[in-house]
Symmetry: C2
Subunit: 379 residues, 2 copies
């Protein structure tokens, strides 16, 4: 490996076939056995319930993982949140994408419409003026954009009120040239992490009632919803049982994270019986202060918005993050410089977005390296 000529790939933390102790740290590591457990478990769930799965790719931003979810994991396609993410996935060969978000502005709607020449593109609206923008963009490019009406079913973020306001917006979509009304988007992000299953169920049921009313009113107005989309990793089992949502948009299920450790499934256990498959592998770089070793994974390797990472090792805690350092509590001073630790990130989605590569491992070997295809695709 010659530095002079190594113009591409010099920053990849590992090579397939290497032992895990050769991975340069910090690195984003996927445990393939657990990852495949999650993939199969969700595939079996949607097969059993007859629901569609549209896996949320904002979690992983990886074309390799998206392909596995579609080819082996029971997914009909993917969701993403941004036009530039959708572009990255279309370039990588994904052909059925919901941008589960509002898209505003001529530049962006134009790019979205161009994508619709290459892939099925669905998008959300919560404003009649954006119906007009999307329609004009689709017309310019001779494309058809499919549209979901986003309703606010409790998260109070985006989305129009359920019921008549949603029906009115759907009528605008129905009459707009080059748009196709596809259904309703009823995702409620904030309830996914409600820890208590009873409280979570109440919120899921309230959202389902509002969604059902809207779907029925749309049907009465002559608009059948082909898609009633929503559900996340914390709610999909409940949503499926309620029978309102027909398309599950779970993302985190493939990796899980320390925040989801706190979310209890009805009957106990982690949501959906999923397992933590995502880790940040960190190396200890300083043991100068007894009992407080320092590792090389800080704020630039781990998102801390939902809490500090959990250390996958007894009696060691991650207690403080600075930009490039993580301070550990190691009361028995068992760690030495050069030791490695698996950290379970507090929040998987923004953690993955910090990395350029997944190092996929099985046992003690690196099996594959996957680029984080849509990392940093922000607009």
């Amino acid at each position: 490996m010659d530095f002079e000529t190594l113009e591409v790939g010099y920053d990849i933390p590992a090579r397939p076939g290497q032992r895990i102790d050769q991975i340069l740290t910090p690195a984003l590591v996927v445990d393939l056995d657990r990852f495949e457990h999650n993939l199969r478990r969700m595939r079996d769930f949607v097969a059993r319930t007859g629901l569609r799965l549209r896996a949320h790719a904002k979690t992983h931003k990886s074309a390799d993982i998206a392909r596995m979810q579609i080819e082996e994991g029971g997914a009909c396609g993917i969701c993403c949140q941004k036009v530039s993410e959708a572009e990255a996935f279309v370039r990588a060969g994904i052909t059925d994408i919901l941008v589960s978000n509002e898209v505003w502005g001529e530049a962006r709607t134009d790019r979205l419409a161009r994508l619709a020449a290459k892939a099925r593109i669905i998008v959300c609206v919560d404003d009649v003026r954006s119906v007009d923008q999307l329609s004009q963009a689709a017309l310019r490019h001779g494309a058809t954009l499919e549209v979901l009406i986003e309703i606010d079913c409790g998260a109070h973020r985006c989305g129009v009120a359920p019921g008549s306001v949603a029906v009115e917006l759907a009528q605008a979509v129905k009459h707009a040239p080059s748009l196709r009304f596809e259904g309703v988007q009823a995702y409620q992000g904030s309830l996914q992490h409600v820890e208590d299953p009873i409280e979570r169920r109440q919120k899921v049921e309230a959202a389902a009632r509002a969604t059902r009313t809207t779907v029925e009113m749309l049907a009465a107005a002559g608009m059948e919803c082909h898609t009633v989309g929503g559900a996340g990793t914390g709610s999909f089992a409940m949503d499926a049982a309620l029978g309102v949502i027909n398309e599950l948009q779970c993302g985190s299920y493939i990796f899980m994270d320390a925040h989801y450790d706190q979310v209890e499934e009805e009957g106990g256990g982690r949501p959906g019986g999923m397992e933590n498959s995502l880790f940040v592998l960190a190396g200890v770089t300083s043991t100068a202060i007894a009992g407080r070793p320092v590792c090389d994974a800080g704020l630039k390797a781990l998102a801390v918005d939902s809490g500090l990472p959990r250390v996958d090792r007894a009696r060691i805690q991650y207690v403080r993050a600075s930009d490039e350092h993580g301070v550990l509590d190691d009361p028995e001073s068992v760690l030495d410089v050069g030791d490695r630790l698996l950290l379970v990130p507090g929040h998987c989605d923004p953690t993955c977005n910090l990395h350029d590569w997944y190092v996929a491992v099985r046992g003690d070997r690196v099996e594959a390296i996957w680029p984080v295809t849509a990392r940093g695709k922000l607009f």
Copy 2:
């Protein structure tokens, strides 16, 4: 702009010459007038005090900015925190780099030693075993690595105890083949954000005492410190007055952030008289809920470890961040879909690391686009 052929650059949020209302959001925006104010102000400060400035490039990770700091901003070189960052900067032509951190492991020390054939490379140690590793790596490559002894002067992160332990470690460096003892690293990150100037001064003075003692003991043992490095944006004026540190390693000064808004300078004002020059430009994408508009900059566009961003506009607050959304409080409902907002990030360093590009603006025009050269360089 044809999507088919646009293999490179399709994700750049703006082009030089565009109006700022054409920038695709969210985007990392540098106000050039304020940026140059900060650049000149620090240049004048080091010229006046006779101290060296080694600008910390972990803040911006940009080779363009590093070059400006060296050519126009009075810096002798840069600091960075990781070997892969140093590699990115050496490739971009920077030739004087301190890795202000401990570097462990054969793979990394080897890469560091290879860099020393192309640039002056300085590195920190706080463990005698790493002296040995670095020496062997330098020997293998016929290179010389310069070494600073990192002391713990109050941050309790990395660094050996000041005084005799530091002297012992310096002796090991002095006797190690292919290493050169260069001095002491006495940076104390945690005091930079102590808001009260009196409390901050007490901590700076305590650190200076410990550092001075160590430097004097080293001199008594025949080891002159060419570099006594430390100081950050919150402390550099105090450090300079105390006369112990001779190399300032400030990073944030070039941008500032909302966290530094809380840090008061002695005599009032922001530290060093610096101005906020860094913003995340966000666009409003939903106004479906009255008084609670939503913008397109969330956790993947803004680091929130040191608090939510400040909105650069009266009576608007950023109140909740999710992955791709920011919820705003807009009590008078002045914002509409498509409106743009400048957000001052809570913490500049990890925010810059989320972006691929700086959009440098002057007045209402985009003047330059700078890549975030070392973004995501983690090991």
